[in-house]
């Protein structure tokens, strides 16, 4: 099958649109996560989300809302208590990480009947993306983009030097909490596409690629968005062609692209250094 034949299917068109939509928040917030070294916290939030997913699945409610409520509450507690700074290496995050997974698996096991959804949440499922899902993703995208653009200088200041930002009267904990809440939203969006286990690759690879190409914060973000779109679209198309699960293929595409870009960058730097 070629690409144009594939595009005749609604679910494939929806999946491709979803890939484009989730690329935006994952690269924007991924840049903050990578630069501010919040990768471990983001990982914790995504696994906590699984606990909520399981609970809502068990209760027969929309699972992704449960995921957002659990991750969002955790983000709120971490942000308001102002513990983000110290939590980088903290055992508490490791604890949340496992506890979220354990709860999720338990609730899904307790749900009567066959539990096919477990793998879906862990590794993503793009077959069932509806127009409604796309609308929700579009709305959340707009919210994230508007908040980040409006308060960009405050978010950067809080990430770079929270003490100095506080001296300047910036409400540091409020902005950190909002940042973590937006991270939670992005994670839940990404779970739809690649699943919990693979979320971290899509939050880290685009900004890392952005850093290979650009150096200023805002440019890393925009380059990251484009990288994320290319990666997730290429990964999806590859997975349709090869008939392999889309989540892992997207992640493998991401890691290979990063390796390629890093390698090319190193060669270019070497050549330009030699010609000087």
């Amino acid at each position: 099958m070629n690409l144009f034949e594939l595009l005749q299917y609604d679910f494939i068109r929806n999946a491709l649109l979803m890939a484009v939509l989730v690329s935006i928040p994952c690269a924007i917030l991924g840049t903050f996560i990578v630069v501010r070294r919040l990768v471990f916290i983001a990982g914790g939030l995504s696994h906590v989300a699984f606990g909520g997913l399981g609970l809502f699945h068990f209760l027969g409610l929309p699972p992704l809302f449960g995921g957002f409520i659990f991750a969002g509450l955790t983000a709120l507690i971490l942000g308001i208590s102002g513990r983000v700074k110290r939590l980088r290496q903290d055992a508490l995050i490791g604890l949340l990480w496992s506890a979220g997974m354990a709860l999720g698996i338990l609730f899904i096991s307790l749900t009567p009947g066959y539990a096919p959804n477990l793998m879906t949440y862990l590794f993503g499922n793009i077959i069932t993306i509806s127009i409604g899902d796309l609308g929700l993703a579009l709305g959340l995208n707009l919210v994230i983009i508007i908040i980040i653009i409006l308060f960009f200088k405050e978010f950067v200041a809080v990430s770079f030097d929270d003490e100095f930002a506080a001296l300047q009267g910036v409400p540091v904990r409020l902005f950190m909490t909002i940042l973590l809440l937006l991270v939670s939203v992005s994670i839940v969006l990404l779970i739809r596409l690649v699943g919990i286990i693979l979320v971290m690759a899509l939050l880290t690879v685009p900004p890392l690629m952005g850093m290979q190409i650009a150096r200023r914060f805002s440019r890393i973000m925009t380059t990251g968005v484009i990288s994320a779109m290319v990666i997730s679209l290429a990964g999806l198309v590859l997975s349709f062609w090869l008939d392999l699960p889309s989540g892992p293929i997207i992640v493998v595409t991401a890691v290979c692209s990063l390796g390629l870009v890093t390698g090319i960058g190193a060669i270019i730097r070497r050549i330009s250094a030699a010609s000087e």
């Binding site: 630069v35 200041a157 770079f160 003490e163 100095f164 001296l167 300047q168 009267g169 890393i220």
Partner: protein
């Protein structure tokens, strides 16, 4: 006490967990003061600075400001070793952070902000570095970027934490000139664990080691060093310029 200073510190007590690190410290900073705070590592110098800045809240006691306006009037130059200098920011981005108090949330920096950044960079002699990334700078250059960031909000009082640590002697000389010039208009409090930084323009010296011992001249009696450090001989071996020791009376 004399007339109210720019900043008055009254009976400050603070600690971490249950251990007192700052034990009943009182002093006042007059306008145009140049106060150097020395003392052993872990003696509470940085903690005292953060209490004055309001970044930490004392167990008891208070810090009273007599500034003409509200926020951003204390400039703060933290220890630059504590930063992640790989952060993808240009020098001009970092200095502009000193304008956050003057620039409402939800709005971009204005032309006036950018002009203020340019003017202060000129004064710190880092105009040529404005479009460099902070990761490309030397220690002395980073120090001047942090001072520019503190000064761009036009403070009445500047607190510097270990500004001379790990910078070259040329940078140190430039820094001294800059501070001397600044001190004509604003009060300065400079923290140092290294007593050799004390230069001729220093007006007062305070030793902080849980308590604060204030000396109302740029000279330091030998016995007070003994009280703070517990070992004057060792201090001399560390190379205190002799004039700082003042008259020895035995």
């Amino acid at each position: 006490m004399n007339s109210p200073g720019l900043v008055e510190v009254r009976n400050l007590v603070f600690g971490y967990d249950r251990t007192r690190l700052i034990d009943d410290i009182s002093f006042s900073v007059p306008p145009n003061d140049f106060l150097v705070v020395i003392g052993p590592n872990g003696g509470g110098k940085t903690t005292l600075a953060k209490l004055i800045l309001g970044l930490l809240h004392p167990w008891s006691g208070e810090v009273i400001n007599h500034f003409s306006t509200g926020h951003g009037r204390i400039g703060y130059v933290p220890q630059f070793s504590g930063f992640d200098w790989q952060f993808p920011l240009l020098v001009r981005d970092v200095i502009a952070m000193g304008r956050l108090a003057l620039s409402p949330a939800g709005r971009r920096f204005t032309r006036a902000d950018r002009q203020a950044v340019g003017a202060i960079a000129d004064r710190m002699q880092i105009t040529g570095l404005l479009d460099n990334f902070v990761g490309e700078l030397s220690g002395g250059e980073l120090q001047r970027v942090l001072i520019a960031r503190a000064l761009v909000s036009d403070p009445e009082f500047l607190i510097l934490d270990e500004p001379t640590a790990s910078i070259s002697s040329d940078s140190r000389k430039l820094l001294n000139d800059i501070l001397t010039d600044l001190n004509r208009k604003i009060a300065i409090m400079m923290i140092s664990h290294d007593a050799t930084v004390i230069t001729s323009q220093v007006k007062r010296i305070a030793c902080v080691n849980r308590k604060l011992y204030l000396h109302d001249s740029g000279e330091l009696p030998a016995d007070s060093l003994e009280k703070v450090y517990g070992c004057p001989v060792e201090m001399i071996a560390h190379g205190i310029p002799h004039r700082v020791l003042g008259d020895h009376r035995h």
